[in-house]
C-alpha cells in the first residue's frame, strides 16, 4: 500500500538514487545515457523507474548520442535528462551548446570524478566547475546547480527541471563522487517519489501559427516553444537564427537574437540564484566552496568556532550564473576568504574576480582525497590571524605547502 500523499515519505538513499527519484518527481519522462562511473546508478534506477510512469529509458551507443537523443525528446515536448561523468561530459559539450543556442530545455547530470582524461573513475574531484560553465564553443548562457547533500541532490534535480523548462535552457546538476554514493535520509516530495504536486511547465506557443515567431523575445525574454504536431511547423537550427527560427548572417538579426539569449537570465536571477550563507554575519573568515568540500567546511566552522575563531561558509547552490551579489554581501565584513576545492584552482578564480583584490586564499587538492574539516579549520584560523599572508603565494606554492 502506498503512503498517503499528504505524508512525506522518508527514504534512505544514495545521491545518485535521489537524483533519479528527483527527476521522476519533476516530470522527467525520457532518459538517454551511456554507462560511466560514478554516475551509472542514475541510469540503472531510471531504466526501472521510467517505464513505471510511461516514460522512456534508452541506453545509447555513446555519450554524444545520449545528449542528442535527450535534446530530440525535448524537442518533441517531453522533459528529458541524461547523466554522466567528466569524460562523458566533455563529449556532450557540442550538443550542450546546441541546446543552449536553440533554447531546448534539458537536464545534464555530471558526477565529478578525478581527471584529466580517464583520471580516477572511482575517486571524487571538483575539476569540472569551469567546464560546466565554459565547455562548449562560442558565447552561451547556462545554469549549473551544485548540491551538497543527498537531500539537496533530490531537490536541486527537481529545480533543474523547473528552471530548464521555464527558462528554455540546458541545466547542469553538478556534484562529486562522494555525494553521489553517500547514503543519507531524504524527504521525498510525495509518496513513493511521486509527482509532489504541479511542476513548472514550458511556455507553449498559443495563437495563430501565422503570427508565431519561434524566437520572439516576449516580455520576459523567453520565447514560447511549439510542440510538433500542434500546427506550427517551425524550423530549429544550431545556426545563428533570426526571430523566425531560420538561419541568418544578418549582423543586426544575429545581434538581436544572440544578445537576447545572452541576457536571458538577467531578469530571472531571483528564481535562478540560490546559496547558503552560514555564520557569515560575524565571520572573520568566510569559506566559499561547493559539494563535499562544503560539507567538510561546515564541520570546520564548528571546530574553529569552538576555538574562538569566527568562521563562516558561503555555498553557491546555483554555481553558474554565480550569485555574485550574495557573495559580496556574505564576505563584506570578512578579513579573508578561503576557497577549498578538489581541483588545481577553479572556483577561487571566480571568487577572486568577483571580490576584486580582497584577500582570497585557497586549498587545492586533486589526488582523489577529500579535503578534511581539520585542514580547512587550520587554514581558516591562520588566515584569521594574518589574512594577507597566504594570498601573495602562487598556486604552485600553495600545493607544495600542503
Amino acid at each position: 500500500m502506498s503512503a498517503s500523499p499528504a505524508m512525506p515519505a522518508m527514504r534512505l538513499l544514495s545521491g545518485n538514487h535521489a537524483c533519479a527519484l528527483g527527476a521522476i518527481a519533476a516530470g522527467c519522462r525520457f532518459f538517454a545515457g551511456y554507462p560511466i562511473t560514478p554516475s551509472s546508478e542514475i541510469a540503472e534506477r531510471l531504466s526501472r523507474g521510467l517505464p513505471e510512469v510511461d516514460g522512456v529509458f534508452v541506453q545509447m551507443e555513446d555519450e554524444i548520442a545520449s545528449i542528442a537523443a535527450v535534446i530530440g525528446a525535448s524537442m518533441g515536448g517531453v522533459k528529458a535528462m541524461t547523466a554522466t561523468s567528466g569524460p562523458g561530459f566533455s563529449l556532450k559539450q557540442e550538443n550542450l551548446g546546441y541546446a543552449a543556442g536553440a533554447e531546448i530545455p534539458c537536464v545534464i547530470v555530471n558526477v565529478m570524478r578525478g581527471g584529466p582524461s580517464t583520471g580516477m573513475p572511482t575517486r571524487p574531484a571538483q575539476g569540472d566547475i569551469m567546464q560546466a560553465r565554459w565547455g562548449s564553443h562560442g558565447d552561451y548562457p547556462i545554469i549549473v546547480l551544485a548540491p551538497a547533500s543527498v537531500r539537496e541532490i533530490y531537490t536541486e534535480t527537481i529545480r533543474a527541471f523547473d528552471l530548464a523548462e521555464t527558462l528554455r535552457t540546458p541545466v547542469v546538476v553538478l556534484y562529486d563522487q562522494v555525494i553521489a554514493q553517500l547514503t543519507e535520509t531524504v524527504e521525498l516530495a510525495g509518496a513513493n517519489g511521486g509527482t509532489g504536486g504541479a511542476r513548472s511547465e514550458r511556455k507553449w506557443a498559443s495563437g495563430p501559427p501565422d503570427a508565431y515567431r519561434p524566437y520572439a523575445a516576449n516580455e520576459d525574454g523567453i520565447p514560447a516553444m511549439s510542440r510538433p504536431g500542434a500546427g506550427y511547423r517551425v524550423h530549429t537550427t544550431g545556426l545563428n537564427h533570426a526571430e523566425n527560427g531560420f538561419p541568418t548572417q544578418d549582423p543586426e538579426a544575429v545581434s538581436r537574437n544572440l544578445g537576447r539569449l545572452l541576457a536571458k537570465f538577467d531578469r530571472h536571477r531571483d528564481v535562478i540564484d540560490s546559496w547558503q550563507a552560514l555564520g557569515c554575519e560575524d565571520a572573520e573568515v568566510v569559506i566559499v566552496t561547493i559539494g563535499i568540500s562544503a560539507r567538510a567546511a561546515m564541520r570546520a566552522i564548528e571546530i574553529s568556532r569552538a576555538r574562538g575563531v569566527r568562521v563562516g561558509l558561503f555555498r553557491p547552490i546555483t554555481l553558474w550564473p554565480f550569485p555574485e551579489k550574495a557573495l559580496r554581501e556574505a564576505t563584506a565584513k570578512a578579513r579573508a576568504v578561503l576557497v577549498p576545492e578538489m581541483n588545481a584552482g577553479q572556483l577561487n578564480l571566480e571568487v577572486e574576480r568577483l571580490l576584486g583584490g580582497a584577500p582570497v586564499d585557497a586549498i587545492h587538492r586533486f589526488n582523489g582525497e577529500p579535503i578534511t574539516p581539520a585542514e580547512i579549520a587550520e587554514r581558516a584560523e591562520s588566515l584569521a590571524k594574518t589574512p594577507h599572508a597566504k594570498v601573495t603565494s602562487s598556486r604552485q606554492a600553495r600545493w607544495q605547502a600542503r
Partner: protein, 295 residues
C-alpha cells in the same frame, strides 16, 4: 497510376516559399531527392503537422529548412541520434532523417549502425554525392577510388563504403538505393521506406556537379546523372546482363526487406507487461490474509 498521382502532387504545397531561392548549386541532385521524398509523403497522405524532419550538417543537412513540416537542423553527424529521442518520445510523429555521406557514414557512423541494430521506426535518407560539398570538396567515406578531391590531390587511395551493405550487415530491415535520374523509382523506393515498420535506410546517389564533377571532369549535371544511370543496374539485372564498368558496382532498388520487431513498440509492450504484472502482484499482496507463524 503514376501520372495521376504526379498530377495531383504539387511540390510547392510541401515547401516553405519564404526560403526560396534555395542555396543548392546549379545541377545539384539533392533537389531531385527532396522532391521525391515530398512526393512519397504526399502519396502516403502524411500530415505535414505530423512530419518531423531531422537533418545534420552539410549540403543534405540544409534541405530540412525548405520543408514545410516540423524541421530540426541539428549537429554534424547526429541527426539519427536526435531523431531516436524524438521518435521514442513521440511515436505519433513520422520521423525522417536527411543526411549526407560524410554526416551519416563518417562522423555519424556509430549512430547509423546502432539505429540499424535497434530498429526504431525512422526513415533515413542518405544523399550520397561522394564528397564534402559544403566545406569545399574534401574526400568522403563514399568517394570512389582514384577520384580527385581537395584533400586527395593524388587521387583517392582509400576504399569507399558500400553504405547499403553496411546498413544491411548492421541489421537494418529495409535497405535500398536509387539514382536521381529515376525520379518515379526513387519516389517509390522512399515511399516503401516510409511504409516500412522499422528503421529504413535509403541511399540516393546524387551528383555534385559544381565541385566533385568539375574536379573530376565528369561533365554537366545531365552527363553525371546519365553516368549514374548507365553504371547502376537493379541487382538482378546486374548479375544476369552485364558487368558495370564503374568500380563501386553499386546495386539499386530495394536491397533488403525483412520485418523485425520495431524497437519503440517492443519497449512499450515490455513496459506495459511489467506494469500489469506489478499491479497484479500488488493486488494479490493486499488481498492476502496476514500469515502467522511463518518465518
Amino acid at each position: 497510376m503514376m501520372l495521376d498521382s504526379a498530377a495531383e502532387f504539387d511540390v510547392r504545397d510541401y515547401l516553405r516559399a519564404e526560403m526560396m531561392p534555395h542555396f543548392l548549386c546549379p545541377g545539384c541532385g539533392h533537389g531531385i531527392a527532396l522532391r521525391a521524398l515530398l512526393w512519397a509523403v504526399h502519396e502516403l497522405g502524411i500530415d505535414k503537422d505530423k512530419l518531423a524532419v531531422v537533418s545534420g550538417i552539410g549540403c543534405a543537412g540544409r534541405l530540412s529548412a525548405y520543408i514545410d513540416a516540423n524541421t530540426f537542423h541539428v549537429t554534424h553527424g547526429r541527426p539519427i541520434a536526435y531523431a531516436t529521442g524524438l521518435a521514442l518520445a513521440r511515436p505519433d510523429l513520422h520521423v525522417v532523417v536527411i543526411t549526407g555521406d560524410g554526416d551519416c557514414l563518417a562522423i555519424g557512423g556509430n549512430h547509423l549502425i546502432h539505429a540499424c541494430r535497434r530498429n526504431l521506426k525512422l526513415t533515413c535518407l542518405m544523399l550520397n554525392n561522394e564528397v564534402y560539398g559544403m566545406t569545399g570538396g574534401q574526400v568522403s567515406p563514399t568517394t570512389t577510388e582514384m577520384r580527385l578531391t581537395t584533400t586527395t590531390p593524388l587521387g583517392n587511395t582509400e576504399p569507399h563504403f558500400d553504405a547499403c551493405a553496411l546498413a544491411a550487415a548492421a541489421g537494418a530491415g529495409f535497405v535500398g538505393r536509387e539514382v536521381t535520374h529515376h525520379v518515379p523509382k526513387l519516389k517509390e523506393l522512399i515511399r516503401a521506406g516510409l511504409e516500412h515498420p522499422g528503421f529504413a535506410f535509403v541511399e540516393v546517389l546524387t551528383d555534385c556537379t559544381e565541385i566533385f564533377g568539375r574536379k573530376n571532369e565528369m561533365g554537366s549535371s545531365p552527363e553525371m546523372m546519365l553516368r549514374q544511370k548507365s553504371d547502376l543496374r537493379p541487382s538482378a539485372y546486374r548479375d544476369s546482363v552485364d558487368t558495370p564498368f564503374r568500380p563501386n558496382n553499386l546495386a539499386t532498388g530495394i536491397l533488403t526487406r525483412i520485418e523485425r520487431p520495431e524497437y519503440g513498440a517492443a519497449y512499450r509492450r515490455a513496459a506495459a507487461a511489467a506494469k500489469a504484472a506489478a499491479a497484479k502482484s500488488s493486488a494479490a499482496r493486499s488481498a492476502a490474509t496476514p500469515r502467522k507463524g511463518t518465518a
